[in-house]
């Protein structure tokens, strides 16, 4: 009954709500968000997290919105200063207990913020190109960077505490190279054009990065470059042997492909002015880099043979005729010094020496490169400083001074000082300065400069309107990855600017971490296995020292895969969904109370659930959902106060507790404390796409929300609030991804040749299948054919399959792969379907269960029933087994089948004897006469004497049923005999409780064990539609189909399921088509158990002469042994269409991932039909649904909208 609505005001908005709603529910329903961590619509309000505190006019203090019921005239404010302050403090408190890494320390350390953990996991999945796509979300130069990056990430890698860091940079290069080596490179999605134009000055890493991301936003980008080619420092500063130019060209192409125009040889201030740029473009980005050499005034600098390092490297790159002398002196200690010295070595130098004024320890160049240079023969002189260069026109001598290290300076490095009188000369006919770079701002004089860099704010804006600056020209010389990272941010700012939005960079998400490498607790990593770091072997020094070939060959596939296994996956599995992180970001909390106050071990004690108590916020949702919804109580709170934690019952390993692996706790957990184990080599996590689907495991028809990333199902969830299962799932649905992953898939069409299944083309396989089936028909007639359809395929697939069987194969032998019962329902009610829905459970006042074990077979139905029982609903269970539902039932009757039949007959006899039939019953009708006939001879009088059960029990139950105003019956069709089902149906009908009229709360809900069992019956995969004994029904169906299809439908009766099974055994069925299932009829399975040896085949001609075609997603032993042709099928995840649940509710499922072998089941069926000579027309699910609607009026009384 609907209660009068109340009106209240929330945040100044007048809204109405149901009187039993809480403030939180009313607000949420009206789109007003109140934060909470402990509230779940499925659970009783708990009030623990204290985040939903709101101000209530007239109340003494803040109240929790989750527990406060609305009332008329209530005035609520959800975001007052006080409530915000309280929430912020609560969040800080929660974070003080929180211990973990939101994202991996590698990603945190990466200046470009690459999702390193994510891309490594994609490589581990065998999808390097998808890894590349992920990398390119943050960095457009992975191939180049993968070769020259100083690897900030690897410095922070947690593997340091186990053995050595993961070779992240090499993996990045591996992914990038995989893409560049592919035929077509990855091109990102480009938004529709914005009509805005951007001029980027400078075609180096920063400029091209900004161009790449701005172009993706739909802006028209023009790049201006002063040099003949793009690449900046990558091209002119990094030698060929480290980064081959051909590769760089290819990588740059992936960027310029998105740009409007590239203008090389265009120098700012000379070929184009700032004014022109500002006129031409809506925004200008200066990305000039820091390519000017810092000149050190020294006597002799004017001599020939004296070089600036970058000029030297640049000229070599430009292939100018550069010559070096016999003795090359390089002054400096950075990467340019190393690059210059190794380049000189590859030219004609006899000796190359690096002179550096501090010691080796202080050298800014990377240790690895210093080592490589040394291997190649570069000599080092430390603690020496230049004094003068001398020579006659050409440099011949370098005068140096000895240095000593003094006190540390501001940078922490020890400051060198001159040792007086220590001058000495060395021979040097080439002297290369590598002592630093700076900005050359010429041409951009309007833009103010400080300390050799453009002035720009956090959003890269220079004081000149519309002019932005990015990369080294703002920061001073850095690395490629830093310049790219900075330029990406610039691109975001410029995009905001172009859209006319405030140019404020969005705050990054809040991230908590376990601490830096020297802070973390080594004990947490004790259990990690040591695995040797995979690193590609460099070319031998003696080989490489005078060659320009790339010295690092990179990873081969196997090594890359092996290396991914070393990743510790530090980042949190829940990072993209974590409510705590989102709220911490939103409320801009601090870490003033620290983090990680308490440490718990992370047990590995469940196949599907990963738990990390360090991330638990003690919201209790897991404990409560397990108890309140599942009735299992596998979780409980342990200890008090700050030491409180959630553990499995009696602190047992979770798997050994009462846990039923339904995953409900995972679905309720707001943080990463409970996560679903991902059945992949590495768990990701990734940002996922969500695709709606329906569980194929049983006829409850739970709505699924499949989380998909890069063509893989990563997690299964369910939307809370849907009217079938309200977000609740059981083991079968919640972890179906594990089953799908573990099953062996059919990856390509297979045809049996010489006793073995061999891979062939689709065409060949379809041809072989068609030919074989037609051959059987030709030789033995259509009756020797049989088509089996799995009750796990969609309505559309089932429909198309049966149509093909009847029209193309000319047989009515169409059956489900498992026997489907329920024909008694058709006999009594006209249709083999439930006459009740789930909503009737709520409306009924008595629920009678016949042979149903909800906890075991239909757990989500079990949740509904248990809740109803706990709310006071009268539940009676009748079963041959004790079930978990018995404890919630008012009464339980244990009856085996024979006794059940007798009991039902007794009840019906009692009803007739005492004239208890409903007044609506037409006693002259045919069915009533049949009923009378059925129980005519039942010895009602003998009940009590010879009867095995006390009459008061049976008639007590009957009276309960008769007295109820809205009694509902739930039967499990798999656990009930045909006669019993008929008696039950008649009982419902004769008492007027059949549910076929417009009355709620009555009827029969018929449960079936597989997801689309109802749907395939509705789709005519039902031998009972073409029965041998009742030709009237057969003719009716045939005429109807024939009329719709305008095609000839065979008039012959269908073999029953049992006859088909027997037929395959006795040889009367000789041709078989099995759709959507790896199973084969029982008789064939038996044969499959033993390998099909030639001798055996001769001994058992019946099965060996069978021609079996299967359209199957999974490879089974039966197929392996017996199938003649196997066509790869699609799983429900790969299919689009509809399932019909036990209520008759037609629910849509959408394709989440592409079929593994490229074809949907519909396409395969249609392909086969075409080969059989009867093309089936368009195969879109929608098209087929429209056709189906003609042949099969969709469920009448309580119909639910079909998918559109």
């Amino acid at each position: 009954m609907l209660m009068a609505e109340v009106s209240l005001t929330i945040d100044g908005r007048k809204i109405t709500a149901q009187p039993d709603q809480t403030v939180l529910e009313a607000a949420t329903a009206n789109g007003i968000e109140i934060p909470t961590l402990c509230h779940d619509p499925r659970l009783v309000p708990f009030g623990a997290c204290r985040l939903c505190l709101v101000e209530l006019q007239g109340a003494k203090g803040p109240v929790t919105a989750c527990t406060t019921r609305v009332s008329e005239g209530m005035v609520v404010n959800t975001r007052t200063d006080e409530t915000v302050a309280l929430r912020k403090l609560a969040l800080e408190f929660l974070l003080s207990e929180h211990h973990g890494d939101c994202i991996g320390p590698c990603q945190k350390a990466c200046p470009a913020g690459i999702d390193i953990q994510g891309f490594i996991a994609l490589i581990a999945r065998g999808q390097p190109v998808d890894a590349l796509k992920l990398i390119k979300e943050a960095l457009p130069f992975p191939a180049s960077c993968g070769r020259v990056c100083p690897r900030f990430c690897e410095d922070e890698c947690r593997r340091h505490v186990v053995d050595k860091p993961v070779a992240i940079c090499h993996l990045k290069r591996f992914a990038a190279d995989a893409d560049l080596e592919a035929e077509a490179h990855y091109t990102p999605f480009v938004k529709p054009t914005s009509g805005k134009s951007v001029g980027v000055v400078g075609g180096g890493p920063a400029g091209l990065t900004a161009a790449y991301y701005l172009a993706q936003e739909g802006h028209s980008v023009t790049v201006y470059e002063s040099m003949p080619k793009l690449g900046g420092m990558l091209r002119y500063g990094i030698p060929e042997y480290r980064l081959p130019k051909a590769l760089l060209d290819r990588e740059i192409e992936t960027i310029t492909a998105l740009c409007h125009e590239v203008k090389c040889d265009t120098r700012l201030g000379k070929d184009i002015t700032m004014e022109q740029l500002r006129e031409r473009h809506d925004a200008v980005i200066l990305a000039l880099g820091a390519q000017a050499c810092q000149v050190v005034e020294t006597p002799g600098n004017e001599l020939s043979g004296v070089w600036q390092g970058l000029t030297f490297l640049g000229d070599v790159a430009l292939e100018k005729p550069v010559k070096v002398g016999k003795h090359v002196a390089v002054i400096g200690g950075g990467n340019t010094a190393i690059d210059a010295s190794r380049t000189a070595l590859r030219m004609d130098a006899q000796t190359v020496t690096i002179y550096y004024r501090r010691s080796r320890k202080e050298m800014p160049a990377s240790a690895e490169e210093i080592e490589q240079a040394e291997e190649e023969g570069v000599k080092f002189e430390f603690l020496v400083s230049h004094k003068a260069i001398s020579g006659d026109g050409c440099a011949t001598t370098l005068t140096l001074l000895r240095m000593a290290l003094g006190e540390p300076d501001a940078s922490g490095r020890r400051r060198p000082r001159v040792v007086e009188g220590s001058d000495f000369d060395v021979a040097a006919d080439t002297v290369i300065w590598a002592t630093g770079q700076t900005l050359d701002p010429s041409g951009a004089e309007d833009v103010p400069v400080t300390r050799g860099c453009f002035i720009a704010d956090a959003a890269s804006q220079t004081p000149v309107p519309g002019v932005f600056a990015a990369g080294d020209c703002v920061t001073g010389p850095t690395t490629v990855v830093e310049a790219c990272g900075a330029a990406h941010k610039t691109a975001i700012a410029v995009d905001l600017y172009l859209r006319g939005e405030p140019v404020v960079l969005p705050k990054g998400p809040y991230n908590i971490d376990r601490g830096s490498l020297d802070e973390i607790d080594l004990k947490e990593y004790n259990d990690r296995e040591k695995i040797e770091r995979n690193e590609p072997a460099l070319l031998a020094p003696e080989y490489r020292r005078d060659k320009w070939d790339e010295i690092d060959p990179g990873f081969v596939d196997k090594a890359a895969l092996a290396e991914t296994a070393r990743c510790l996956s530090c980042g949190c599995q829940d990072v993209f969904d974590c409510k705590l992180r989102n709220l911490a970001t939103e409320y801009e909390v601090s870490e003033r109370f620290g983090t990680g106050g308490y440490r718990h071990p992370i047990p590995d004690d469940h196949p599907f659930i990963v738990r990390d108590s360090n991330k638990c916020v003690l919201c209790g949702s897991c404990v409560r959902i397990c108890q309140e919804v599942q009735g299992v109580s596998a979780w409980g709170f342990v200890n008090r106060g700050y030491k409180t934690t959630v553990r499995p019952t009696l602190s047992m390993p979770l798997e050994e507790s009462t846990c039923e692996s339904c995953g409900q706790c995972v679905s309720a957990c707001p943080t990463g404390a409970l996560t679903a184990r991902v059945p992949l080599a590495k768990p990701g996590p990734w940002k996922t796409l969500e695709v709606e689907s329906v569980c194929p495991e049983c006829s409850v028809g739970c709505n699924l929300r499949l989380k998909v990333q890069a063509g893989r199902l990563v997690e299964v969830t369910s939307p809370v609030g849907n009217s079938v299962n309200d977000g609740n799932l059981c083991r079968k649905g919640a972890f179906i991804d594990h089953d799908l992953t573990q099953a062996k898939r059919v990856t390509a069409p297979l045809v049996r040749k010489d006793g073995r299944l061999v891979e062939v083309s689709w065409d060949e396989a379809l041809e072989a299948a068609a030919a074989g089936l037609l051959d059987v028909r030709g030789r033995h007639g259509p009756a020797a054919l049989g088509v089996w359809v799995s009750p796990k395929v969609t309505n559309e697939e089932a429909y198309l399959a049966q149509k093909m069987a009847r029209v193309a194969l000319g047989t009515n032998n169409v059956s489900a792969t498992e026997p489907q019962s329920g024909d008694a329902l058709r006999e009594v009610f006209g249709k083999n379907a439930s006459t009740a829905t789930y909503a009737d459970i709520d409306d009924s006042d008595l629920v009678l269960l016949f042979g149903v074990d909800p906890a075991e077979d239909y757990p989500v139905l079990g949740i509904k029933l248990r809740k109803a029982a706990e709310a006071g609903k009268c539940l009676v269970t009748v079963s041959h087994l004790r079930t978990k539902m018995d404890q919630y039932a008012r009464a339980s009757l244990a009856l085996n089948q024979a006794k059940l039949t007798q009991a039902l007959e007794a009840m019906l006899a009692y009803v007739l004897r005492y004239d208890l039939t409903d007044e609506s019953v037409d006693i002259d009708s045919k069915w009533f006469a049949e009923l009378k006939g059925l129980i005519e001879h039942f010895p009602l009088a003998a009940v009590g004497d010879s009867f095995w059960m006390k009459p008061e029990k049976i008639f007590g139950l009957l009276h309960l049923y008769l007295r109820a105003r809205q009694p509902l019956i739930i039967v499990d069709l798999d656990n009930i005999g045909a006669r019993d089902l008929k008696l039950i149906s008649l009982l419902a009908k004769v008492t007027g409780n059949d549910g076929t009229c417009e009355k709620y709360g009555k009827g029969i809900l018929a449960m079936r064990s597989t997801g689309n069992a109802q749907g395939i019956i509705d789709s005519h995969v039902d031998p009972a539609e073409f029965p041998a004994d009742s030709s009237a029904r057969r003719q009716e169906t045939r005429a109807m189909l024939q009329k719709c299809w305008e095609l000839s439908v065979p008039s012959s009766p269908s073999k029953t399921h049992e006859q088909m099974v027997e037929g395959t055994g006795d040889g009367s069925v000789k041709g078989l088509l099995v759709i959507g299932d790896g199973s084969l009829p029982a008789s064939m399975q038996a044969a499959a158990a033993a390998p099909a040896t030639p001798a055996r085949q001769q001994a058992s001609p019946a099965s060996s002469s069978l021609f079996a075609v299967a359209i199957a997603p999974f490879m089974t032993a039966a197929l392996e042994a017996r199938a003649s042709v196997v066509l790869p099928g699609a799983t429900f995840v790969e299919s689009e269409g509809t399932f019909t649940n036990c209520e008759g509710r037609v629910q849509p499922l959408f394709q989440a991932v592409k079929p593994l072998a490229g074809k949907t089941n519909l396409q395969v069926i249609a392909g086969l039909a075409a080969k059989l000579g009867q093309p089936s027309g368009p195969v879109s699910p929608e098209h087929i649904r429209n056709e189906m609607a003609l042949t099969m009026p969709w469920p009448g009384k309580k119909a639910h909208a079909a998918a559109s």
């Binding site: 009030g47 203090g61 403090l89 609560a90 106060g641 700050y642």
Partner: protein, 605 residues
């Protein structure tokens, strides 16, 4: 037991027993037992058995500081001769000289002169404790003889609403802490439509230092049962639970026995006293979680769940135990009820103040000469309780502060000792009545340390459910700990206050909402002490070990070496007869040397 026999059985119990013969009474409550009263009792039995003189046991007499107590009762003599502390050696002399000889031994009596009644007793008004220390708690007949179970008989003659009216008019308020009006609570519970109702006695006395509920249960269990029975009748509850903490084994034992006896005598069960009213009482033992004194947590515990508070509303009077309306009252509250019914609401309401009627029992403890249980009319001043009843502050020290209400309460400075104890005055002062703990602190007390002590208790006892209580108390504790260690930062004091106010405001239940009280009141009245700790890294009371050091005064030191022998870490050295020196590196500031020194030659800085 057939109903018919019960009234007749009661009729045979005399309502007042005329005492013909001399007898001896020994306080056998937990306080006495802990001091060795059992041995004294056995000794007395041994000595007096041959003389055919009875030795009786009774509950807490109310002078816990002087236990074991022995009272000699002579017929016709109104003087209470109470000996204490009695040692086994004193027993024979008391027996021979006083019990047999009729000559009191003046110097062993609790008060020095033979006063008619000692101050500690005389200045009290005993309603709740009336039977404690006078009757045998394990004897229902003793209770009936003292006028027990008359009130319920009277109640049965009234309509339930009239009973509630009586309690409402008396102005009785909950003695468990919050002071909710008992009559209102009962009528709310009665008003809620339901198939059944529950009544619960909260005997989960959790405040450290409070023991009035235990004493009442040990000394007068039938008084509580009768109170519950009246409440059950008034609100129509057919089942009740006594939630007693398992750490009170004697109380559990006596209540259990009392319930059994009451059932046997027809005061519990079906058709009580032929009234047609049924009521069953069960005992639930709590596992000793402080939070289970909070009524919603207590109900969870009774239901067999983890003792965690649930949000209110719904209030227990609407949805309590298993979803049925439930009224939860404290032991002391129930103990007042028979008096109100028996004597009439006017007599009860004549005691106390305008808003707080009747008496209140306090557990007087700390730096006070005579600690123990005292029952005084509401409105008595703190000063009267401490000085007139408690005998003032020992060792010549002065009063610094009073903590009322245990860890949920607050510290009131000595300057406010004139404050009358009633609900409103204490709340206005930032403290609470609580269950009645009254801790006296002298001038050697460090108030920061006190706040830390009480908070340390709530940190441990927080149930862990809500964020503010679980983490907030701990963060406050961390700050206090910092301050007492001399690591406090200037911003710590405002931060502490900020957290305390927010924890108070936003916690789920009473535990969290009151946990900051010790911090807030000490900040309110003794902020300077915090500031000295933070700014000068000094503890003015010289209590915080990290902030003090022990030194030998060379002029006063005689070089006896006593301190060096006492020092557990060997930090004191020196030649005999020459001034000793304390090594500050190894000194752990335990203070043993100060106690050992006979010449006051060790100073604390």
């Amino acid at each position: 037991m057939a109903n018919t026999t019960i009234p007749s059985l009661i009729e045979h119990i005399p309502t007042s027993k005329k005492q013909e013969q001399v007898f001896v009474r020994v306080g056998l409550a937990s306080c006495g037992l802990a001091a060795g009263a059992r041995t004294i009792y056995d000794e007395l039995v041994k000595e007096l058995h041959p003389h055919n003189i009875e030795v009786r046991s009774t509950g807490c007499i109310g002078m816990c500081h002087a236990e074991p107590l022995v009272e000699v009762v002579r017929p016709g003599d109104d003087t209470r001769y109470i000996y204490g502390p009695v040692t086994p050696a004193k027993v024979r002399k008391i027996v021979t000289e006083h019990v047999l000889g009729g000559k009191p031994i003046a110097e062993w009596l609790v008060t020095s002169d033979i006063a008619p009644r000692p101050d500690i007793i005389q200045r009290q008004t005993r309603i709740v404790l009336a039977n404690c220390g006078t009757i045998d708690a394990e004897s229902i007949t003793d209770y009936i003889a003292a006028g027990g179970y008359q009130a319920i008989k009277k109640a049965f003659k009234m309509m339930p609403d009239q009973v509630i009216e009586e309690v409402t008019k008396a102005g009785l308020r909950g003695r468990g802490g919050a002071g909710f009006r008992t009559g209102l609570k009962w009528s709310l519970t009665r008003k809620t439509q339901a198939a059944k109702r529950f009544i619960v006695c909260n005997a989960d006395e959790g405040d450290p230092g409070a023991f009035m509920d235990r004493s009442v249960l040990e000394g007068d269990p039938h008084g509580v049962i009768e109170g519950m029975l009246i409440g059950a009748y008034a609100m129509g509850a057919s089942q009740g639970f006594l939630y007693v903490r398992a750490e009170y084994p004697l109380a559990v034992k006596r209540v259990r026995k009392a319930v059994m006896m009451a059932e046997e005598y027809g005061f519990l069960g079906n058709n009580i006293l032929g009234s047609g009213f049924d009521c069953h009482l069960s005992i639930r033992e709590g596992a000793g979680a402080f939070v289970c004194g909070e009524e919603t947590a207590l109900m969870q515990s009774i239901e067999g769940k983890r003792g965690m508070p649930t949000p209110r509303p719904p209030f227990p009077s609407e949805k309590g135990l298993w979803g049925y309306p439930t009224s939860i009252n404290n032991v002391e509250t129930f103990a007042n009820v028979p008096y109100i019914l028996r004597e009439g609401w006017e007599k009860f309401a004549s005691l106390g103040t305008q808003t707080s009627k009747g008496t209140k029992v306090f557990a007087l403890a700390g730096n006070v000469v005579r600690g123990g249980l005292v029952e005084v009319p509401m409105g008595t001043t703190i000063k009267e309780i401490i000085f007139d009843i408690g005998g003032g502050i020992p060792d010549g020290r002065s009063l610094k502060a009073i903590q009322t209400g245990g860890p949920s309460g607050g510290c009131i400075p000595a300057s406010m000792a004139d404050l009358p104890v009633d609900y409103e005055s204490l709340t206005n002062a930032g403290a609470i009545m609580g269950s009645g703990g009254l801790l006296v602190m002298d001038d050697s007390t460090c108030m920061v340390d006190v706040a830390k002590f009480f908070l340390g208790f709530t940190v441990e006892e927080s149930c862990g459910k809500c964020t503010f209580c679980r983490v907030g108390t701990r963060e406050m504790y961390k700050i206090l700990d910092r301050i007492t260690k001399g690591e406090g930062r200037e911003e710590d004091i405002p931060l502490l206050e900020d957290i305390a106010l927010k924890v108070k405001k936003a916690s789920l239940c009473g535990l969290g909402q009151t946990a900051p009280n010790p911090v807030l009141t000490t900040l309110r009245y003794f902020k300077d002490e915090y500031e000295v700790h933070v700014r000068e890294k000094r503890c003015p009371a010289k209590k915080c070990t990290a902030l003090i050091s022990y030194h030998v005064i060379p002029e006063a030191c005689k070089g006896c070496g006593l301190c060096a022998r006492q020092c557990p870490t060997g930090a004191i050295s020196g030649e005999l007869r020459k001034p000793h020196v304390i090594n500050q590196e190894t000194c752990i500031r335990c203070g043993l040397c100060t106690n050992a020194c006979k010449f006051s030659a060790i100073k604390v800085e």
